[in-house]
């Protein structure tokens, strides 16, 4: 291949790739516009949130257009010389992220964080973070894995510290940035080892290389296997940091507590979703085309993930008990939910392994694994609405009563009944009460866990723990509701009169939660779509 041919093919590849890179490009353009606004002082003329909203909406529109043609995106397409992959999974998560971004921007506009002065900066960070997450969900290469995680994290460090004059905010940001940088460093080290040992950094090639490197039955006696497992651990640390899994969750309560509720809501949903997408891609890359040689290791990796998930859910729920600050409570609840969702990944890994163990036929194993991931995706959708809803309501109430302490929520039902009802819907959905969306999310994941239990009993144990956790979690959510609905409002407490537009916002979110539980058609179509999307990853 001559040099000119090389250049030509590179050009072709780039132009072809750019066509599928629309949403990211558009968001980048919006970021640029925001920065230029600041430069030329246009932010005095046009409120920055308008630019941000417009850009995001267009991004969402592009993604939605892709989503409508979901069937058309059959085969996975590799972009930018194989750094990114464009398939249904990518489209699905892009849609998730851009929609979520629309909601978050709307929330920031409603609750007035940031002020006009800081608007361009804040939205630059917000959009930049989302671009990073979009890279994460389409990562096909270890470099993008790292770059995506970092690109998603770095702006969020700054966002956590955005309440400039607050001691707590600055402390939270410092802890977050140091912790995040540490975790990223650890992950990068893992990436370096992994790519060096396998001789490639391309995710789809890894399984094949694994079969070359590891000959015979893989076991920890082999130094190569040991190193690979260690480096996988290190990479997992980076993702576990983003997912706030125990024991890498320490940043989460502190950062959420110190940050504004809007930022906390953003972090709790978006970065989790992106990290889960990445984790699923990574896990499937390692399950590979022929995982027989690697089978034993895969099984124990799956169990390890399951154990981490169970510990995370339990820890999150128990630690949430004694919290008095609403954001902190929700932070622990976020940790617990990451645990639930991780269970789906564990179930998927175990079930995939079930094919090798001849518990399931190959086709069965695939369809059950598809179900597990589909359940995870459904859960993420519900989680978007219910968790953002809870954080949004916390932000709205904070703007009125200047407090996020649960005790100060006493008797709010008398002053903003509808908002309290929205909160009730969101929290009950977080518990997993039928007929709300959270119930179906848990239901799908638990069903997959049950199937996985047929392969290895430990999954049934995880299922039992998860069920117990659901009961535990009820109490601390109810404590909040008790304060809101039953306790009398103290004399002289600040009034919380919520303008209708904010109520409508909370209403939309909580009604979505309700609809995802009550409207069978919707539940079916979303879960079917999610399974369909998951299927694309599992093509043999």
């Amino acid at each position: 291949m001559s040099f000119s041919e090389l250049i030509q093919s590179l050009l072709d590849d780039t132009t072809r790739s750019l066509a599928h890179f629309g949403p990211e490009l558009w968001l980048c353009g919006t970021i640029l516009a925001l920065l230029l606004m600041r430069l030329f002082g246009w932010d005095r003329l046009v409120p920055p949130y308008i630019v941000a909203t417009a850009g995001t909406l267009v991004g969402f529109g592009i993604t939605y257009f892709d989503f409508l043609n979901l069937e058309a995106a059959g085969e996975a397409e590799h972009l930018f010389t194989g750094l990114l992959v464009y398939d249904r999974f990518t489209i699905f998560f892009r849609l998730f992220l851009t929609l979520f971004l629309v909601f978050v921007i709307a929330l920031t506009v409603l609750t007035g964080i940031p002020d006009r002065e800081d608007g361009p900066d804040f939205y630059t960070l917000l959009l930049g973070s989302v671009v990073g997450m979009m890279l994460m969900v389409s990562a096909n290469h270890l470099l993008i894995l790292f770059l995506g995680v970092e690109m998603a994290s770095v702006p969020s460090y700054a966002m956590v510290g955005f309440l400039k004059g607050r001691r707590l905010s600055s402390e939270a940001a410092l802890k977050f940035v140091v912790y995040g940088a540490g975790a990223a460093g650890v992950m990068l080290y893992g990436v370096s080892l992994l790519s060096g040992l396998l001789g490639t950094a391309n995710l789809p090639e890894m399984a094949a290389r694994l079969n070359l490197v590891v000959t015979g039955e893989a076991g920890m006696a082999d130094a190569t296997v040991r190193t690979i497992v260690l480096s996988l651990m290190l990479v997992f640390v980076g993702l576990a940091f983003k997912l706030s899994l125990v024991p890498f969750h320490f940043w989460c309560p502190d950062a959420f507590h110190g940050a504004s509720a809007e930022v906390a809501g953003f972090l709790s949903v978006a970065s989790k979703a992106a990290a889960f997408a990445l984790l699923v891609r990574l896990a499937i890359a390692f399950l590979g085309q022929d995982p027989v040689a690697w089978a034993g290791v895969n099984l124990s990796l799956g169990i390890a993930v399951g154990v981490v998930a169970a510990v995370t859910a339990t820890f999150g729920n128990l630690a949430a008990y004694a919290q008095s600050n609403m954001k902190r409570l929700l932070a622990y609840s976020t940790i617990a939910h990451a645990g639930y969702m991780l269970m789906a990944v564990a179930a998927m890994m175990i079930i995939r392994h079930g094919g090798a163990m001849a518990v399931f036929s190959e086709a069965e194993a695939r369809s059950e694994a598809q179900r597990a991931i589909g359940g995870l995706l459904f859960y993420l959708w519900v989680y978007l609405f219910m968790n953002l809803g809870a954080f949004a309501i916390v932000a709205m109430i904070r703007n009125r009563i200047f407090s996020e302490e649960i005790d100060d929520y006493a008797g709010l039902v008398n002053q903003c009944p509808w908002l309290c009802v929205c909160m009730l819907l969101c929290l009950f959905s977080l518990v997993g009460m039928p007929p709300l969306g959270g119930f179906f999310g848990k239901w799908y994941i638990f069903a997959s866990l049950f199937q996985a239990g047929k392969v290895h009993w430990s999954m049934w144990a995880v299922l039992g723990i998860a069920g117990l956790n659901t009961v535990f979690s009820l109490f601390y959510y109810v404590r909040v509701l008790k304060a809101m609905f039953i306790a009398p409002r103290p004399e002289g407490a600040r009034r919380a009169d919520i303008p209708w537009i904010e109520g409508a916002y909370a209403g939309i979110l909580s009604l979505s939660v309700l609809a995802l539980g009550c409207a069978p058609l919707l539940v079916n179509s979303v879960s079917r779509k999610a399974r369909e999307v998951a299927g694309v990853l599992l093509i043999p």
């Binding site: 024991p247 169990i303 981490v308």
Partner: protein, 815 residues
């Protein structure tokens, strides 16, 4: 293009619903009660509805090549043949939403109704519940009338209700238990959201393409009127009036429901127009009950008359129909008497809604609502719904039902007019006049003056809404004084109100200059429509001399109407002020209120321009059911509902030609009566040849009888309300003593059992639950200690975490 008609009308119908949703929630959430936005939204919605309706009308007209206005034979000599053709086509039409440019020529396409389904709610076997539309020229006229009047009233209400624009409204007519005035937040937004809902309901009723849908919107209209009449819910009188209106309507609706069930059972469909289920197209109710000539297919089977329904297939033949052979062998049938029951049932609904005798008592009490509500209720919406339905269901009504209808109308119009003569509350006079005029409409429809009755409905809507708004203007101007004896001379203070009111008064009285100038009579709308009714009644009288009262009473009442309406006007606007204080503080209303008055006055004067040759009448005539214009001679004695030996079993209906021949005569009678009434009023209240008070004393007994509204309220109180109270009290006693006794025994027993259970519960179950709770809480608290807040420890935990995971892998991994 034709599809656009129903699309536009549907949009016009749904817009107020949208408005309602926005207003009621938006208004609830808004911080201040001083915001006019909800009201403006309401106005915009209904105004847009009017524009859309007009657009639909224009499309309809151009699609039918304006055949409706094209030179049509003067009334009377419409060839029967033509009407026959039209309905034949209607019955045979496969797809009603598409006009066939057929051989018969396009000039009659305007007579065809457009029907179809907007949205299917559910289907249970043969029963289809759907939202349908049924659009003909009547629908279009009603849409334009309702939206136009409602727009005017909305705009008027912008000003009228503006004292609700406050965070603290003091209701001087409502008192708390402590005797203070009621203080409450203003409900401006709520008022307009209810108004929007009201308009939505009424438009839905007009657009409805099946009888079930009609019933739904019928009830919705009732609910809206309940909400609006009881708008000042803190006032005892208002809440009572709202209850009364609702309950009275329920009585009528009960009949409606019976009629509905009969129709469903025997017709097997709710649909008015042709209905498509699967591949099969079935005729609607109207095409089933009437044949092409507009006649009933009555046969004598085993001694009792049975009506055969056209083009229908009985359920037993479904299997036969399946194999392609359209089974025409077995038709659906309905016993004649059940058809009468169905007709009477539907008419009972109309009685309730349109406040006919004997359910008329709710309407005057409904004056407790704000005046714009009264205007809306009394002109375009609620009461119009009853007459509209009577007109719409005309094909279902047998001659017997029509006769009942005319007598009910006749009684109502006289009764209400007499009460109106003595009423002194300005709004109540108008309320009784409404009842009376509704009686005219019912009478008109009953004596086969289908178009005449609906003609009067439209014209009445304009001049009555005008007069109500004028009275509202007066009430606002006089600071909520409604008693006429305390007014007088207001003409000088509020000229616009006075003269627009005069237009309405002349219109309702039916005064005219009995000459034609440039081929047009100098007459306001009321003259034309009332004239049409009286003429029909006279023709009916000629045909059935036994029913002479059906002509005489309306004629006399025309005079009474003119009398009390002019009395009202003279009382209020002429003469010397009777209450100086009120007079001095009276003022003309702001422009937002007078502008609708002027608009409505123009319409009240000119809407019926051209009389029976004019566009409005022709529009209505285009929807007239087949056979009405031909008239009928007699009913076959074998099917007579009323036994022969009573002696007047035969009711013939006048043909249009016959009506036309007596038109001039009837017109002259009516005009003389009206003029006499007006002059009498002038003499009594302006010239004061005799002191009205003196007359009052002379006929004291009659006066008290009328003031007591013919003792209807007392009668109902004694006949229904008190017995019900007695029975209720007796039942309550039974409940308290017997039933409660038994229940208490059960309750005590279970309490005893429960107390044992509780001991187990407290000791064992609660202990366990508390233990779990305490343990988890303690664990949770101790877990907090892990989160030390020390950054360096967190970092340490990363390293330790990786290490521990790795060690665990070492232990558990396969080797």
């Amino acid at each position: 293009m034709l599809d656009w008609i129903w699309i536009l009308l549907t949009a016009a119908w749904l817009l107020p619903l949208l408005g309602f949703a926005v207003e009621v929630f938006g208004g609830y959430w808004q911080q201040s009660r001083r915001d006019r936005t909800p009201a403006l939204i309401a106005v915009a919605c209904i105004g847009a509805g009017f524009v859309l309706s007009v657009a639909a009308f224009i499309i309809w007209g151009s699609e039918t090549h304006w055949g409706v206005f094209a030179a049509e034979p003067e009334h009377g000599d419409v060839p029967a043949q033509q009407a026959v053709e039209d309905t034949t086509r209607e019955a045979a039409a496969e797809d009603a939403s598409e006009l066939q440019p057929a051989d018969a020529g396009q000039q009659h396409s305007y007579r065809k109704a457009i029907s179809g389904t907007i949205y299917t709610l559910a289907r249970f076997g043969d029963l289809k519940l759907s939202i349908d539309y049924y659009v003909d020229s009547l629908t279009l006229v009603m849409f334009m009338m309702v939206t136009l009047i409602a727009t005017c009233i909305h705009i008027f209400a912008l000003g009228y209700m503006s004292d609700e624009l406050t965070d603290e409204y003091v209701d001087h007519q409502a008192h708390t238990a402590g005797g203070d005035h009621v203080h409450r937040p203003g409900r401006y937004y709520l008022f307009f959201s209810y108004m929007s809902l009201f308009c939505f309901s009424m438009l839905g009723l007009v657009l409805a393409g099946n009888i079930f849908q009609v019933f739904i919107f019928w009830e919705l209209v009732g609910i809206c009127s309940y909400l609006l009449i009881g708008f000042y819910v803190e006032r005892h009188s208002a809440s009572t009036a709202a209850n009364k209106a609702f309950i009275m309507n329920r009585v009528g609706d009960f009949g409606f429901l019976i009629g509905l069930m009969v129709i469903w059972t025997y017709f097997g469909t709710f649909s008015l127009g042709p209905e498509t289920i699967g591949d099969e197209t079935r005729p609607g109710i109207f095409a089933m009950v009437r044949n092409a000539e507009g006649g009933l297919d009555i046969r004598n089977e085993s001694g009792s008359p049975v009506v055969h329904l056209n083009g229908s297939v009985a359920e037993a033949d479904d299997a036969g129909a399946a194999d392609g052979e359209a089974a025409v062998t077995a038709e659906r049938t309905i016993p004649y008497w059940l058809l009468v029951v169905a007709g009477l049932g539907v008419f009972a609904g109309c009685i309730g809604k349109s406040a006919q005798f004997p359910l008329q008592t709710w309407l005057p009490d409904a004056m407790e609502g704000p005046t714009p509500v009264s205007a809306l209720v009394h002109s375009a919406t609620m009461v119009a719904a009853g007459v509209y339905l009577a007109g719409r269901f005309y094909p279902v009504f047998t001659p017997d039902v029509l006769l009942v209808m005319s007598y009910v109308g006749c009684i109502t119009l006289f009764l209400a007019a007499t009460i109106a003569v003595v009423a002194t509350d300005i709004k109540r006079v108008l309320a009784y006049s409404t009842i009376s005029q509704l009686g005219y409409m019912m009478l008109g429809i009953g004596v086969a003056g289908w178009a005449a009755g609906l003609f009067h409905l439209i014209t009445h809507a304009f001049f009555k809404s005008l007069m109500f708004l004028c009275s509202g203007s007066v009430i606002i101007g006089c600071h909520h004084e409604q008693e006429m004896p305390r007014m007088g001379g207001l003409r000088r203070k509020m000229p616009i109100t006075a003269y627009t009111m005069l237009v309405g008064v002349i219109a309702i009285s039916g005064l005219a200059i009995p000459f034609t100038i440039l081929g047009m009579k100098l007459a306001f709308s009321g003259y034309h429509s009332k004239d049409a009714i009286v003429a029909t009644a006279l023709a009916f009288n000629y045909k059935n001399p036994v029913h002479f009262l059906l002509f005489l009473v309306p004629l006399v009442t025309a005079g009474i109407t003119a009398f009390y309406m002019f009395r009202l006007w003279f009382y209020t606007f002429c003469g010397e002020p009777r209450d100086r204080h009120i007079y001095d503080h009276a003022h003309e209303s702001p422009r937002v209120m007078t502008l609708p008055l002027i608009v409505l006055a123009v319409f009240a004067a000119g809407v019926a321009v051209g009389g029976e040759g004019g566009p409005l009448y022709r529009m209505l005539l285009a929807s007239e059911p087949a056979g009405v214009d031909v008239g009928s001679e007699a009913i076959d004695p074998t099917v007579a509902f009323i036994p022969e030996d009573v002696g007047y079993a035969l009711v013939g209906q006048p043909a249009r030609a016959e009506i036309h021949s007596v038109h001039a005569q009837a017109g002259a009678f009516a005009l003389i009566a009206a003029a006499a009434g007006a002059v009498l009023a002038f003499l009594l209240y302006v010239v004061r040849v005799v002191d009205p008070g003196e007359i009052k004393r002379q006929v004291g007994g009659l006066y008290r009888f009328l003031i007591e509204k013919w003792h209807f309220d007392t009668l109902y109180d004694v006949a229904f309300v008190r017995p019900v109270h007695r029975v209720a009290a007796a039942l309550a006693w039974f409940d308290r003593v017997v039933i409660d006794g038994i229940l208490h025994w059960f309750a005590n027993t279970s309490v005893r059992i429960a107390s044992w259970d509780r001991k187990v519960d407290e000791g064992l179950v609660d202990g366990l639950v508390n233990l779990v709770g305490n343990v988890t809480f303690r664990v949770g608290r101790s877990l907090r200690a892990v989160q030390t807040g020390q950054l360096r420890q967190y970092i340490m935990f990363i390293a330790l975490g990786v290490l521990s995971l790795f060690v665990l892998q070492f232990i558990f991994f396969p080797r």
